[in-house]
């Protein structure tokens, strides 16, 4: 049997004067620091690549009708379609035509001969812009509503609470699908291939408001009962002053970690919608759409078309989650000390 019996934590109840953290925590911290910098590094790389995606030194990544690049791409696709990445020596490549290379690029090429790495970076741009804008708006509105509900309570609180409840009663992705379809009706937005960004952003904002409102409300309630707020109130400070001068600065750290977690969730949500074909339209790459496009070639062993963008997305979401975790832990421990 095992040797660990009852007390699972480092010390028994009465180990005296243990001011500092136990051994294992230190180890975790050090390991955490490396992963933290890896995460920051990856996000920096993604951001820079996303900004400069158009000038990445690879074959065309998208194709506008009438574009001169396009004809090259289409011509190229006969030669370069569905090539595995250069390093994938284990993958059986399709027979090269006319002496074209067997393997292409960092992440291979897709059905149309577009370079997957470049497209992934373009996808990063779309995903990050959509999710970033959505979380910004969502957080702004959610914070406002949550603070009002949590501070004034009473009727305002009940109304906000009930609206949130109804919104949360729809499964999130279904709600988003519903909203996107409604906003996206071709009768109002014109041709199918020029879908604007705003319907999807709006859907994501709507999606993010109820949970954020709840979280902020809970935090506001916690702070509204703290001594310094009670003191300010007893000195006759106005509600708005207390909310913005006393409570808001205190919940900002928490908001930051919500923002990161929310960003990760919204990137995934956008990916889901894009996977279903409901995000920005086909020629503009998004991670979800790229993964969806790869699901058919996957059957014939062309794994990179789905898995490479999936991998890029996974690393990005993982990095954001990691940073969110680091942030949450830091503020939690500060909370515990102060």
């Amino acid at each position: 049997m095992t040797d660990i019996d009852v007390v699972t934590d480092e010390h028994a109840p009465e180990v005296p004067v243990l001011a500092d953290a136990p051994v294992k925590k230190v180890k975790v911290k050090r390991r955490g620091r490396i992963t933290k910098w890896l995460a920051i590094g990856w996000l920096a790389f993604i951001t820079i690549s996303a900004i400069g995606a158009n000038s990445l030194p690879y074959i065309p990544h998208s194709c506008e009708p009438g574009d001169s690049m396009c004809s090259t791409a289409v011509k190229g696709s006969l030669l370069l379609g569905q090539l595995p990445p250069k390093w994938a020596f284990f993958s059986e490549a399709p027979k090269p035509v006319n002496g074209a290379p067997e393997r292409m690029g960092l992440m291979g090429t897709d059905k149309n001969g577009f370079d997957i790495f470049s497209r992934s970076m373009l996808g990063a741009r779309n995903s990050l812009i959509i999710a970033g804008l959505a979380i910004t708006f969502g957080l702004a509105i959610g914070t406002f509503l949550g603070m009002i509900a949590g501070y004034f309570r009473g009727k305002v609180d009940t109304v906000i609470e009930n609206i949130s409840n109804v919104m949360l009663a729809f499964p999130a992705l279904l709600l988003a699908i519903f909203l996107v379809t409604f906003f996206n009706d071709p009768n109002t937005t014109g041709a199918a291939n020029s879908r604007p960004l705003w319907p999807i952003i709006l859907a994501l904002v709507v999606l993010s408001i109820p949970p954020l409102t709840r979280l902020v409300r809970a935090n506001t309630i916690a702070y509204a009962q703290r001594d310094f707020v009670v003191a300010a109130r007893s000195l006759g400070a106005k509600g708005s002053r207390i909310l913005f001068r006393e409570i808001l600065p205190n919940i900002v750290p928490t908001l930051l970690s919500f923002a990161l977690t929310g960003l990760a969730i919204l990137i995934v949500a956008e990916g889901g919608l894009a996977f279903l074909g409901l995000s920005v339209e086909a020629p503009v790459p998004t991670w979800g759409a790229m993964i969806a496009a790869g699901s058919e070639p996957l059957r014939n062993g062309a794994w990179w078309i789905s898995l490479m963008p999936a991998f890029v997305m996974f690393l990005t979401v993982l990095s954001i989650n990691l940073l969110g975790d680091v942030l949450a832990q830091r503020f939690n421990s500060r909370e515990a000390i102060g």
Binding site: M1, I4, E10, D20, K25
Partner: protein
């Protein structure tokens, strides 16, 4: 045969419990925390021992270490614990489990947290009976009822189907005692059993423990920070400081003639009824010693008003006092010339300060 008579019929020669040079340390990043540092004592069957000390003196670790309840992963344990003549310090978990509950059991400080919140009282009581004595559900329930009657809980029948949160603090602690008694152990550890209770209930609980001890001819080790608690309820008292035993004597002897300035300070820190109101409490200044790097000499020296240079340099061994069962570890015990001189000085300073 009921568990009680079974336990009582066991014949034992010599002491029930013999602890020799027991050491227990926890590995932390600051180094080894030597929570129990070479403690030896023995306990005769049917007697009760009070272990007294401030928090951080190692008294709780001592009791858990004797029982073997500490996690092995980050604990270092050495020395010898003979229970009924059998060495139990190196038993495996499954061997120890056979002893736990059956031979020795434990009562904890907070009856609110030491009972499972989501299990009915009757089921918790019956669990040990089923494990150790192989009782059926019905027998276990009947015995549980009997146990609740023994600890004099009102309406015991009803309690069986209640949850801990539905009981008062005193009742919960009675349930804990019943739980500890269930398989008729020969040794009971009571770890601050009354600290979390109302003053009025404290005496009752101590009385129940004592009653059970007499009825079952069981030994009790009562761990507490409160000399007042052990005064009326134990046969012997062991005072711990910084992981070491610093004084041990039969209760009456100790109170009549305490040798350690620490014991005296502990006693003085209890407010007395005859003191005028608003008397300053005599708290012991300073903090318990760092158990990673304990002081070289006497561990109490840095906080002791009577400390001399020898106290700081050299660690006092356990010495025997006039009474053969009275041991203490102090170079200048209460009543010695040095101590007398110093207390006269202190008294003068006090008057001068006024």
């Amino acid at each position: 045969m009921s568990p009680q008579t079974q336990a009582a019929s066991r014949q034992v020669d010599g002491p029930l419990l013999q602890v020799t040079d027991l050491r227990t340390a926890f590995r932390t990043d600051r180094g080894l925390v030597k929570a129990v540092d070479g403690v030896s004592f023995s306990l005769t069957r049917g007697r009760s021992l009070g272990v007294v000390g401030e928090s951080g003196s190692g008294k709780t670790v001592l009791s858990r270490s004797i029982m073997g309840l500490l996690p092995k992963r980050n604990t270092e344990r050495s020395g010898s614990v003979l229970f009924e003549g059998q060495e139990i310090i190196d038993l495996s978990l499954s061997e120890r489990r056979k002893i736990w509950g059956r031979e020795m059991s434990m009562i904890f400080q907070d009856p609110m947290t030491s009972l499972n919140p989501v299990m009915r009282v009757g089921k918790q009581l019956g669990e040990g009976l089923k494990i150790h004595l192989g009782m059926s559900n019905d027998d276990a329930r009947a015995t549980a009822l009997k146990l609740l009657q023994d600890v004099r809980i009102p309406e015991p029948e009803k309690r069986l189907d209640q949850y801990a949160f539905e009981l008062s603090g005193g009742m919960r602690q009675r349930v804990m005692i019943a739980l500890a008694m269930s398989c008729g152990p020969t040794l009971l550890f009571a770890d601050e059993p009354t600290t979390a209770l109302d003053v009025t209930v404290q005496a009752q609980i101590l009385e129940v423990i004592n009653e059970q001890r007499r009825d079952r001819n069981m030994s009790v080790i009562l761990v507490t920070h409160d000399l007042g608690v052990v005064a009326g309820h134990t046969d012997e008292i062991a005072v711990m400081y910084g992981g070491k035993l610093v004084e041990k004597a039969p209760t009456r002897v100790l109170f009549a003639n305490m040798k350690m300035p620490y014991t005296e300070a502990l006693l003085n820190s209890i407010p007395k009824i005859e003191d005028p109101s608003h008397t300053r409490l005599n708290v012991i200044p300073g903090r318990p010693p760092d158990l990673v790097n304990p002081p070289k000499g006497c561990r109490f020296a840095p906080r002791c008003s009577f400390a001399q240079s020898r106290c700081i340099e050299e660690e006092p061994p356990l010495m025997t006092a006039e009474h053969p069962e009275h041991m203490y570890a102090c170079w200048y015990p209460v009543g010695s010339p040095v101590h007398r001189e110093r207390s006269a000085q202190l008294a003068e300073q006090k008057v001068g300060a006024r």
